[in-house]
């Protein structure tokens, strides 16, 4: 149990640093950014309690905020995505699947895993850009930003998934 948590904390720090120093620096065409830290929330085992997911997500969000100088923005968006993560995940799990699986291409299949990531990431970015733009004076900017960022993030996550799965 303790070992599990140590690994989880290591992954947390690793993802955060990758996000801050590499993926956070990417900005395509002025619209798309990548937020790969969301992988941490996506990869928590099935049936992790909602309270636990919420706390991890909030911590990840606030840590990203500190580095990106956007106090509260990522925290609010990751927390919302975390609230609905379990509900979204259940839509893509077939009957008879073990209770404690870690969502991934190997456990639920590529197409289901991608759809699951797509829904969670879209939810995250819609919240993020709504807060950041605050008044939705540019609906088109919002749409392009959400679409572009989601696709970019998913692309990175798919690459990561195919590398870690041997």
């Amino acid at each position: 149990m303790t070992r599990n948590y140590l690994i989880r904390i290591r992954n947390f720090v690793l993802l955060l640093m990758l996000q801050v120093f590499i993926f956070g620096q990417i900005h395509l065409f002025g619209y798309a950014t990548a937020y790969i830290s969301i992988l941490f929330i996506l990869k928590l085992p099935r049936y992790t309690s909602k309270n636990e997911i919420l706390i991890w997500a909030f911590l990840m969000g606030i840590a990203t905020d500190i580095f990106a100088n956007t106090p509260g923005v990522h925290a609010a968006a990751t927390t919302l995505a975390a609230l609905l993560r379990n509900n979204i995940l259940e839509q893509f799990i077939q009957k008879g699947t073990a209770d404690d699986i870690i969502p991934g291409a190997g456990t639920i299949g590529w197409s289901r895993y991608i759809s699951y990531m797509l829904l969670c990431t879209t939810l995250f970015y819609v919240t993020l850009y709504m807060i950041e733009l605050f008044t939705i004076s540019y609906p088109l900017t919002l749409l392009i930003s959400v679409g572009g960022s989601t696709l970019l993030t998913i692309l990175f996550l798919i690459v990561a998934e195919s590398f870690t799965r041997k």
Partner: protein, 282 residues
């Protein structure tokens, strides 16, 4: 009663959710309202130090361009010294002009500081820059920030060792500017879209200017001294109500490659702010 209790226990994650979202939105609102949420930005000690290490490594990759721009700035300064020396000689020759009052009037009352850029989150829509000088180095809120190319922004909040800079490329940024060799001042505002351009939103219709004219700071805001370059006019259009011109300005400062910046603060600025605080609100 039992059912209500059971219901609440079963859905206890909602309370946690509301609590966490509450904290998040409190941070967002407080930061937007110019309060001291600076701890939750990379101007805090830990994040600032982590960024400093990263920037240290990263800075080696931009040394060549950085060097050439510093050389250019050096050359300009040398030229300026030469010009000033000439003027000093002239003044010394005609001593009659140089009485006490003029000597005081032309006294340089601006202090300059140099700082390194620690984090530059150009990827955000509304972004901030963090520099490695803070209150202990003499930096205070609302000092001007520029680099060898032109104006960068204004100090937004300063902590002990780091400060947060509000760049021109931020919706909150308002900088008082004018056309070089002209008198009409106007406010420079960013529209949140292109990272190379900003806009002079309220140029009076009688002002004379052309595409290619240089925009400089006006010196009215007491943040910047007069005549620091900002950019060149790139395009002109009428404002929506037809009362003013709106000029698109190509900024001199390249925000994606900022490494070193200068900070300028005026003597007695704090005193002025203290006085202004005492003005009764209507």
């Amino acid at each position: 009663m039992q059912t209500i209790l059971n219901f609440l226990i079963k859905h206890n994650h909602w309370f946690l959710f509301i609590l966490l979202e509450g904290i998040s939105f409190m941070l967002i609102v407080r930061f937007n309202n110019y309060q001291n949420a600076i701890f939750f930005t990379s101007a805090n000690r830990v994040a600032g130090d982590v960024y400093a290490i990263f920037t240290d490594i990263d800075s080696y990759f931009g040394l060549r361009t950085e060097n050439s721009s510093l050389l250019k700035h050096n050359r300009e300064l040398l030229q300026e010294i030469a010009v000033l020396r000439g003027q000093l000689n002239e003044a010394n020759n005609s001593k009659a002009l140089l009485n006490d009052t003029t000597a005081n009037r032309y006294k340089n009352n601006y202090n300059f500081y140099a700082a390194n850029v620690v984090s530059n989150t150009l990827t955000r829509l509304n972004y901030f820059i963090v520099i490695d000088k803070g209150l202990e180095d003499g930096i205070g809120n609302e000092m001007g920030v520029f680099n060898s190319n032109g104006v960068v922004g204004v100090i937004y909040q300063a902590s002990q060792h780091y400060s947060l800079v509000l760049p021109l490329l931020n919706n909150k940024s308002n900088t008082s500017c004018k056309i070089r060799n002209g008198n009409e001042t106007s406010i420079l505002q960013w529209d949140g879209k292109d990272k190379e351009f900003s806009y002079l939103v309220d140029l009076p219709r009688h002002s004379r200017f052309a595409i290619g004219d240089t925009i400089v700071t006006s010196g009215h805001s007491s943040i910047f001294p007069e005549d620091i370059p900002v950019g060149t006019i790139d395009d002109i259009e009428e404002s929506i109500d037809g009362m003013f011109y709106k000029a698109r300005v190509r900024l001199f400062a390249d925000f994606s490659t900022l490494r070193t910046v200068f900070i300028v603060g005026r003597d007695g600025y704090k005193e002025q702010k203290e006085l202004e605080k005492n003005i009764p609100k209507q």
